[in-house]
Amino acid sequence: MPEIGTIAEMPSAASPALIGNPLDPYVPTAAKPWNARRVAHVYRRLGFGASLAQIQEGLQMSPSDLIDHLLNPASDLGPPDPPYWAGYTNADYAADPNMVFTHRDQLRRQWLSNMLTEGIQAKMALFWHNHFVTAINTVGCNSYFWDYFSMIHEYSFGNFRLFAREMGKNPAMLVYLNGNLNVAGQPNENYARELMELFTMGESNGYTQADIVEMARALTGWQSKDYLCTPAYFDNTKHDNNAKTIFGQTANYSFTTAHNLIFSARSEQVSKFISGKIYKNFVYQAIDPTVVAGLADELKSNNWELLPTLKTLYKSEHFFDERIISARIKNPVETLIPILKMAGADTAGPLPDNWWDAIGYWTYLLGQEMFNPPNVAGWPGYHAWINESTLASRWNFSSVTSYFLTQNDTLKENLRSLAQALTNDSNDPGLITSALVDFFTGQTLEPIHLQSAIINFKAGIPENYYQDGTWNLYWNEAPYQIVNLLYYLVKLPEFQLT
């Protein structure tokens, strides 16, 4: 059984007593202003960063309006358009089995590209991929995985209760956690256990081994023939049609009523567990119990609807707390995608396939292979992302991603315009560097590192061109100088925080 660890709580030294409810809507004050820093924070946490235009747009709105502006369209977006192979069975691949892998590559590219263009929805879907875990290498059938991929988008901001129920019938999940082996008379406990332990209630949190066995019996009947990759179906002859006793209550539970029971009899556990996971993913690793309890109440009172719950969190005083900003360790896609996003690559037209293939490969090397989390508990994340080796690899891959920006004329010019807009077209390399450091890291560097950043921005152009005013941002070198600065910035420890 995979370890998910205990839920650490935020150190008390870092949690001074808050006045009022931390989930109250954030009201900007002089001490806690609504500024570019907080707008950027919203974009980083909800999605994969923002271009300067998006930050400027956000500044024109109230915090609450910005959250609505981002979440409403993302939640309305619906699942991605199915590819032509969405319903392919094994028979369809018989002529050219290699197409199985071609299609997987396409889907991976598509998703990474969506992180850039549909960042808010993709970020949420990634969260659910790491919650309701399946792995394409285990599932095998592309059509099953597509079904799953579509579902984690469809329900991203939807109703968690329905999401959890429908997930159990998803053919990918039926294969991944052996639901299709769970038949009357021969129950397989695997899915029932993870449903309670990892997907809804949390480990050892309100259920017994007997509950797992009985739950497994209730879930029998859903089948998927992964040797054919044909759609999932319900086989009533394989469903255990006898009474089961779950949480001390006895009835002839069906797949649906058994799920309903979890959400009615254990609503306390489920709401807290899911709220805690949301908090860790979007706020900070060490949970604030007051905030999580408040979120859990929101989730219950909204009948398990995620969107209003997420809005409450994102609009709250707590979410904009100074101590929370730039306190999360980036996962690998959060490390690489925002480099493109901040350069405005989301509006620069389609990027080459080989960029996405490279980025997909790098996130794999960094420990986050899209569609293949290590096990049913998902990527453990947080400090597990970082060791001497992966950190050094992050420097490398972030540098090459930055180098990509020089390989596209639109992006190159975006960089130039960015520096000009941030500095009112200054020709002072120190001022420009400071503005770019602020934009790309969202943090303040110590003086010696800022000095080094300036040296990197100057990029070996003789000093006299700066001193006599000959140099300016219109120079052909300017975009390359910004990339040279990025080479330095991506190696700073600060860059790993978001």
Binding site: R328, N396, S402, Q451, S452, A459, Y488, Q496
Partner: protein, 539 residues
């Protein structure tokens, strides 16, 4: 070689439009070759696999390889004006071409009856008189390129003017010296560069061999605390807690920090260095590290400001004065107490190009061709190499043809100073450049005399038809790399790349096992800090 008889448009600041074009030219080349493509930041050796961070016996043995000579490259950034650095005394052409910039004879100290240097550089006079300084006149390369960046790349890579080479000459040398750099990185940085971002000099095909620290301040942080990132001053907020975790990890990924700190603490500056002198600041660091036995073979320091398009006279004299004071202090420090250390450290100045022989309308000079190099070091003697610029050209815009190709200087230093096998020098330089005999003292003992590894030779196997036995002996355990090269010196196959015990070893080489067809090849054995290269014929 002919004069370049046309004006280089844009090489002067006076002409803003053309000057902008000159800078456009900078971008035409792949700008990123300058920055080392994969990102020249402060932690270049972070690009390594996890094994690189684990101390191994291989690393320990590598640290002691080779001889104990050190090379310090001193870069004059911007294109140094040679004519006002080394002045041909009484040359009327010089005074005619430079009505405001020429330095009168009574403002010179004499290198000889014929040549002098500005008085601002008189700190160098004792070095010259004590046989610790040489001057190479008018160094350049054919078909000069007047872009700062491109020309620097040429000088750094050792390429021809028209060829883009993305590795540096020192990188290729160090790649040979530290054969298993990526597999088993040494505990000391093979090269260390302070205060300059561009590092093509040190880039090899496989890795960047230099540890580059962007500023002396960053370096001091490493030297004083053993870490690049401060972890002591962070507080308890979530962000600071995470930042502390990341900084600790980054510091430990930065493998050389402790070695540098230890050497820096052991070594002491024993004289006062000039203040307000950026080069002196860097050389003081280098001296401490050398005295602290860091073991790094090559250092690079740099000083900017040589792009003297306007109001050059006093400014350039002062700049050279700073160079002179810094270099003098450096050698005084090295030789302090008759240590003899100055005999082991060769300093070499270089610049991407020289400047026009005429002065421009802004009392400055524009991008030109040849420029002198200076060598410093105990026991190198004094004197001149090459021919001074011919200032008698009737064309005021013509640059006198260069005299010494910089690649002959590199080849001579690699072979004689660093004790590199002549074949390897040609391999590193990509061509067989002439050597300047006696430019620097030849390494003693010459390479191979240490006999830590002996190449016993090769012979066809009697027992196994088609097999060539390559035999060698190690007197000390260590890493061995055996490679097959084509006759042009390109590596084709790596046969052995592992840690071997003391004793005799035989490698049975069957070409077909390595998918090599019949023909002429070379093999190269690197072990015990030595390199052997031999031709073989595969029948």
């Amino acid at each position: 070689m002919q004069h370049k008889n046309k004006q280089r448009p844009g090489a002067t600041l006076n002409d803003q439009n053309a000057h902008a074009k000159d800078h456009n030219l900078w971008s035409r080349r792949d700008f990123l070759s300058m920055t080392g493509l994969m990102g020249a930041g402060s932690l270049l050796l972070g690009n390594l696999p996890i094994s690189a961070f684990l101390p191994t016996p291989i690393m320990a043995s590598l640290a002691g390889g080779g001889n104990d000579r050190i090379l310090v490259l001193i870069r004059f950034d911007g294109g140094n004006d040679g004519l006002n650095t080394i002045i041909e005394r009484g040359n009327s052409n010089y005074y005619n071409l430079r009505p405001t910039l020429a330095i009168p004879d009574n403002n010179l100290w004499a290198l000889s009856n014929q040549y002098g240097m500005p008085l601002s550089t008189n700190a160098l006079q004792p070095l010259w008189e004590n046989g610790m300084m040489k001057i190479i006149f008018n160094v350049g390369y054919p078909e000069p390129n007047y872009s700062h960046f491109r020309s620097y790349d040429i000088i750094a890579s050792g390429s021809d003017s028209e060829t883009v080479v993305n590795t540096g000459w020192m990188g290729r040398f160090l790649d040979n010296e530290y054969a298993a750099f990526l597999e088993a990185p040494p505990t000391v940085p093979p090269a260390l560069q302070i205060g300059v971002q561009t590092n093509l000099v040190f880039k090899s095909d496989e890795a960047n061999m230099a540890l580059a620290v962007s500023s002396p301040q960053e370096f001091y942080q490493i030297a004083q605390t053993g870490q690049l990132y401060d972890t002591a001053t962070l507080g308890n907020t979530p962000r600071e807690l995470e930042l502390a975790f990341l900084r600790q990890t980054a510091n430990s990924a930065f493998r050389y920090a402790k070695t540098i700190k230890d050497s820096y603490s052991r070594g002491k500056n024993q004289i006062d260095y000039p203040t307000d002198n950026y080069l002196a600041e860097q050389l003081a660091i280098v001296a401490r590290l050398i005295k602290g036995n860091l073991g790094t073979k090559v250092y690079m320091v740099s000083i900017g400001g040589f792009d003297t398009h306007a109001q050059q006279l006093d400014y350039h004299k002062d700049l050279l004065g700073k160079v002179a004071n810094a270099v003098r202090a450096f050698y005084d420090d090295l030789s302090f107490g008759n240590s003899g250390l100055e005999q082991k450290v060769l300093g070499m100045t270089f610049s991407e190009f020289g400047r026009t022989i005429y002065e421009n309308a802004s009392n400055g000079t524009d991008h030109g061709w040849g420029t002198p190099m200076m060598l410093f070091g105990g026991g190198i003697g004094n004197g001149f190499t090459g021919q001074y610029q011919d200032l008698s050209s009737p064309d005021p815009y013509g640059d006198p043809v260069f005299s010494v190709d910089f690649r002959t200087v590199y080849s001579s230093i690699l072979q004689d100073w660093l004790g590199t096998d002549p074949n390897i020098v040609n391999f590193v330089m990509g061509q067989d450049n002439p050597r300047i005999t006696g430019l620097v003292p030849a390494a003693t003992p010459s390479l191979g005399d240490n006999n830590k590894c002996t190449l016993l030779g090769h012979n066809p196997s009697l027992a196994m038809p088609g097999v060539i036995e390559i035999k060698y002996a190690l007197k000390q355990e260590g890493p061995v790399r055996l490679q097959i090269l084509d006759t042009a010196g390109h590596t084709l196959r790596t046969l052995v790349n592992e840690f071997k015990p003391i004793g005799s070893h035989t490698f049975n080489f069957r070409a077909s096992d390595w998918y090599l067809s019949a023909g002429e090849y070379q093999y190269r054995l690197q072990a015990g800090g030595q390199v052997f290269q031999r031709g073989i014929r595969v029948g």
